[in-house]
């Protein structure tokens, strides 16, 4: 935990009102070192300031959050991205996670919860909102009974499934730990493992699933 030093944050969102709102809500919990309102500006600001965490809007002028991720994830491995969006569309969620974001929260999140999420991402853990957990369960559920799936990456373990289910039910990591009799650290390990699978699994089903959810 890096509690003693404030987490350095860059806010990327095309709505100025939203940025100042987030800034006010985060208060002293973090140090906002920069703001940007489109993809190009974000890339410049992030390169210049090297923050710990970038709060990244999914829908941005100039290519969206995905363009920022594509430009910087490999170049600045120490900078972590937390996606923030009003969108519930599965393909948006899945695409930023696969683009390299360490988590996804919706803009309805409360200030203290957001501050907690930022700290968690800064520490290298993953942040799943209930909705993201639901998406992952949905996406990976479709293939669990397919015998041909032999890659570990394409499967969730029983424990990971339990953790995600509790998060989808609205449990905090602490409450998940309590319910499953494991430590918060272990919960974080499970969630990070799921994030890794989500990012590395090379199944096209993920994308297809996200698309089909929209078209059903």
């Amino acid at each position: 935990m890096t509690d003693h030093t404030a987490v350095r944050v860059v806010l990327v969102d095309d709505h100025r009102m939203f940025r100042s709102g987030v800034r006010a809500e985060l208060g002293d919990a973090v140090e906002v070192v920069g703001e940007a309102e489109d993809a190009d500006q974000a890339i410049t600001v992030i390169r210049a300031t090297r923050p710990d965490v970038v709060l990244l809007d999914v829908h941005l002028p100039g290519g969206g959050g995905r363009a920022v991720l594509a430009a910087l994830v490999a170049e600045l491995p120490d900078v972590r991205f937390l996606a923030l969006s009003v969108s519930d569309a599965p393909e948006d969620v899945i695409s930023v996670i696969r683009g390299g974001a360490r988590g996804y929260v919706t803009k309805s999140i409360t200030g203290p919860e957001l501050a907690g999420a930022v700290r968690r991402v800064a520490d290298g853990d993953a942040v799943f909102s209930p909705r993201l957990a639901g998406f992952v369960l949905d996406a990976f559920a479709a293939t669990t009974d397919v015998a041909t799936v032999d890659e570990d990456l394409d499967r969730l373990s029983q424990r990971e499934r339990e953790v995600l289910r509790l998060i989808a039910r609205g449990y905090t990591y602490k409450e998940v730990g309590k319910a499953l009799f494991i430590s918060v650290k272990t919960v974080e390990t499970h969630v990070s493992a799921v994030l890794r699978k989500l990012q590395l699994s090379n199944r096209h089903e993920l994308t297809r699933w996200a698309t089909s959810r929209r078209l059903v």
Binding site: S87, E91, A141, A168
Partner: protein, 411 residues
Amino acid sequence: MSEPAEPIAAPVLPGDLPVRRMYRSSDGRVLAGVAKGLADHLGVDVLWVRIAFVVLTAASGAGVVAYGLFWVFAPQSPYEPAGQPRERGRDLTMLLALGSLAVGLVLLLTALGIGLNPGLTVPLVTVCLGVAILWRQADDDARERWRQATATSQGPGMLRAGVGLALVLLGAAAILAGPANGGGAVGGLVAAAVVAVGIALVSGPWWLRMARELSAERSARIREQERAEVAAHVHDSVLHTLTLIQRHVDDPREVARLARSQERELRGWLYRPVGGPGGSTQLGATLEAAAAEVEDAHGVAIEVVVVGDCPLDDRLVAVRDAAREAMVNAAKYAKGAPVSLYAEVEPEQVTVFVRDRGPGFDPDTVPGDRLGLRQSVVGRMARHGGRAIVTSEPGEGTEVQLEMPRDRSPS
């Protein structure tokens, strides 16, 4: 909203490239810009494309045919460096290019075995040259219109069109007068055919242009219609809600309720597939609708997460009603704290969790009305063959778990 049109457009799907069209380039072309346009489209050097065309021409003249087809079907690029002066001495280069095309055509005809008759080949090549000049000129006309430079020199354009026309006429006349024309009834037919083909070739560019303009106009009209629809929707819903919000500034609960229900409505409109609210016969959609009702009635935010989905049957209607009861109860006792609903459809059963972060209660000292909830939710689930479990602890909120086995027979 800095970009009002942006959120309406469907987001680009992951792994899905935007549709790219091939345009003929007017920049750096020799004849019609086919090779350059193709090179830009494929991302290779234009020289390779030209070599490919030449090689293909040697192969029974396929290159010439391909070039012609690209010329007709690939539209002229509308993107062009502005103010680029038309180069002088260009006509000579063009004529050279046309000449090589003609040679290619002769090769093609030879390959097809009909070029051995010089009395036919020469007029045919003449016609082709004329047609090429005419079509090339039509391209230039289109370019001029894009540039909107009306005052450019009309002279060379007219001259070239005239030369093209003359060549076509000359060729046609030569065919008619040639040895292939045997006279009599057959001769008349051939003459008519030659004239018809000639007219079609000469007027082709203008027909094509008219068709393209028509389709451009049509897509503009569709865009306009979509815009009008969006404007109407924004007016009916969002503006209306904003007015209501201004009227209720003193009542934060009402403002929150209005904002929340508007958000839900707009979200449904933006992200839901075409076909309106439909799908109300699916469990997920009915749970969302029930949550929306409770949100509106009690002014509490309810986060709904549904994993999997299935059609509604009698038992699942009971699940929905029980879930709604549980949400109403959570909304009442949670005192504004968020409520979450999680539903999971598995092959064997459907599970629904309703959780609030309210003060919770001690199950041993159940208040009277909570007992009522137990009766209605637990009783209802039991009657339909499922079960409900209520867990609560003071300070930890309350969770209602509903389980219903699924009907295994496909209905």
